[in-house]
Amino acid sequence: MAGIWWLASYPKSGNTWLRVALASLLSGRPADFNAMPLMSLIATNRAWFDKAIGLESADLTIEQEINLRPRAYEIWSAEAEQPLYCKAHDAYLMTPAGEPLFPTAVTFGAVYIVRDPRAVAVSYANHLAETIDETIVRMDDPARAASAAPGRLSRHQQPRFGAWRDHVESWLSAPFPVHLVRYEDMHRDPHGAFTAVVAFLGLPCDRERITAAVDAASFARLQEQERATGFIEKPRRAAAFFREGTVDGWRRSLLPEQAAHIAAAHGNVMRRCNYDTLLMPLPAERGAA
């Protein structure tokens, strides 16, 4: 039996960057993010769930869907011929039936990508085409899931995020090996951060291939490809998926009270992840919320 490596993060935290880099490393050539056979698996993929379970998830209640997701992962793992790499935006949580959503028995481990929640708020607000204040409320809601959208069928099942702080803590206390990687470190030292991920996953640390994979996942290249071919994961409302990709762009976009709210709501976890909660927006360049 193979097993699953979870590539987990809160939304807009660098998950796609990591998957493009891994896809490029494993295939030995720059990955096309619209066609990454080795990295296309997403924990909420409706089609994969339906094929594994033998029912259409669209017919199920939300509770039935989430209770059956661990069974789908067990089947994915049992039928895989090699390790699976699976993107997950859900928190590490228990299903209503009382078992872990991500079953330990089929899990190799998880790479958890964390990003400063002040930057997440700005990026996620753009992604959802909503105000930053609305996104801040969303990130503070312990029961937050993706929009329920009862009037449409999405290609994805509904991920359960919870509050940003709970999302981070849930994965860092999961009962299997978890490698924490900071978005900011991937930005500052992509080669070093990616090499550590590759070593954690037990993949060969070939320096040249790692360099090529990091280059293939550079933000400029991702933006260029999105302009040329579009990105199938971009929400219809968002202008672009790969928007800015900066570490401290939030300091030009957040109001002081917004930054203070985020620091108050998530401060303990921010400090644990080495984010300076006292850092404030830049007054002169601050934009409107």
Binding site: N34, R46, A47, D50, K51, A52, I53, G54, L55, E56, S57, A58, D59, L60, T61, I62, E63, Q64, N67, L68, R71, E74, I75, A97, P150, G151, R152, L153, S154, R155, T229, G230, F231, I232, K234, R236
Partner: protein, 314 residues
């Protein structure tokens, strides 16, 4: 324990199931009412009854279903109930105690119907079917690919929808491969109806707990099998325009396998080899296989519909 009616008592509903007569204890609004002779015996019974929690000698045990040989399939779905399908003609349902399950009808007319067809050695595809230029075109693809919405757009351009969600294909004989008419009652989500300019007021919900509605786009289609002309697999294109590409060889075979309805139960019921053989039959009957790359949104589906209407035959 509920008191279960026996025999034909209480089977007050009769439906047309792609040419078969289905008698049912349950209201199944996705299916057209039976319009054949009233005294015709039912080909399939769907009754309320006691259902065991496991089969006597299962030879395939999945998380929520088991099978025994080709003739027995048992679904155990917490929150809905237990459903036993036997020999392609007998469905027994024991709903879970408590409030009536909100999705029982959808489960019966979706995956359970598919199991029934697998047991009857026909080929159910997860697809909508539209008759274009007199020939049946199967629209298949994953959930949320836009199959039903595309069918609705084609119906608005005077094409005839003959099936939604399940398309039953008869490839058993050496003659033409046939698509059997099912239901022209499309099941559309609210956002699709809004984009199509259709008000949801007065439409019946297909699921109580989700905003999926029935939308009749042709009334009283005659029961007449159509020659199957093409299988069109819908896939997402990140940017316009819509593109229609011919599939051949392994790509065509994979397109067919990908659109088999309930493929895991089918394998468990021993249908893998017959489905493989069906592909050869479709290929030798000159059924065309296509991939339709559809940009996001209704504009993308309109482009896709236009492509289908001008596509070459076959």
């Amino acid at each position: 324990m509920q008191a279960f009616a026996g025999g034909e008592r209480g089977m007050k509903h009769t439906y047309r199931l792609s040419g078969l007569k289905l008698a049912s204890h349950f209201d199944l609004p996705a299916l057209p009412e039976w319009d054949g002779p009233a005294d015709a015996p039912a080909d399939v019974d769907c009754r309320l009854g006691e259902v065991p929690s496991r089969l006597n000698q299962p030879d395939y045990i999945a998380p929520i279903f088991q099978t025994s040989g080709a003739g027995e399939y048992l679904l155990v779905l917490p929150g809905t109930g237990r459903i036993l399908v036997r020999n392609g003609n007998e469905i027994t349902v024991e709903p879970e105690a408590g409030p009536a399950p909100s999705n029982l009808s959808a489960i019966l007319t979706g995956p359970i119907q598919a199991v029934l067809w697998h047991q009857r050695e026909l080929l159910p595809l997860h697809a909508s079917v539209v008759v274009i230029k007199g020939r049946a075109v199967v629209l298949c693809g994953n959930g949320a690919a836009g199959k039903s919405t595309l069918a609705a757009l084609l119906a608005a351009q005077d094409q005839c929808v003959i099936a939604d969600d399940i398309c039953v294909v008869d490839a058993r004989n050496n003659g033409d491969v046939l698509a059997l008419p099912g239901s022209a009652r499309l099941q559309l989500w609210r956002d699709a109806l809004v984009e199509l300019g259709v008000a949801t007021d007065g439409l019946k919900r297909a699921l109580e707990h989700k905003e999926r509605y029935f939308f009749d786009c042709s009334i009283g289609i005659p029961f007449e099998p159509y020659k199957l002309a093409a299988v069109v697999q819908l896939a997402r294109n990140a940017l316009p325009p819509a593109r229609l590409n011919r599939l051949r060889g392994a790509q065509a075979a994979n397109a067919l396998y990908d659109c088999v309805h309930s493929p895991r139960p089918a394998r468990a019921l021993g249908r893998a080899q017959p489905i493989f053989a069906a592909f050869s039959r479709l290929a030798s009957a000159r059924v065309g296989f296509w991939r339709l790359m559809v940009p996001e949104g209704l504009a993308g589906l309109r482009e896709a519909a236009a492509q289908l209407l001008v596509a070459p035959e076959g």
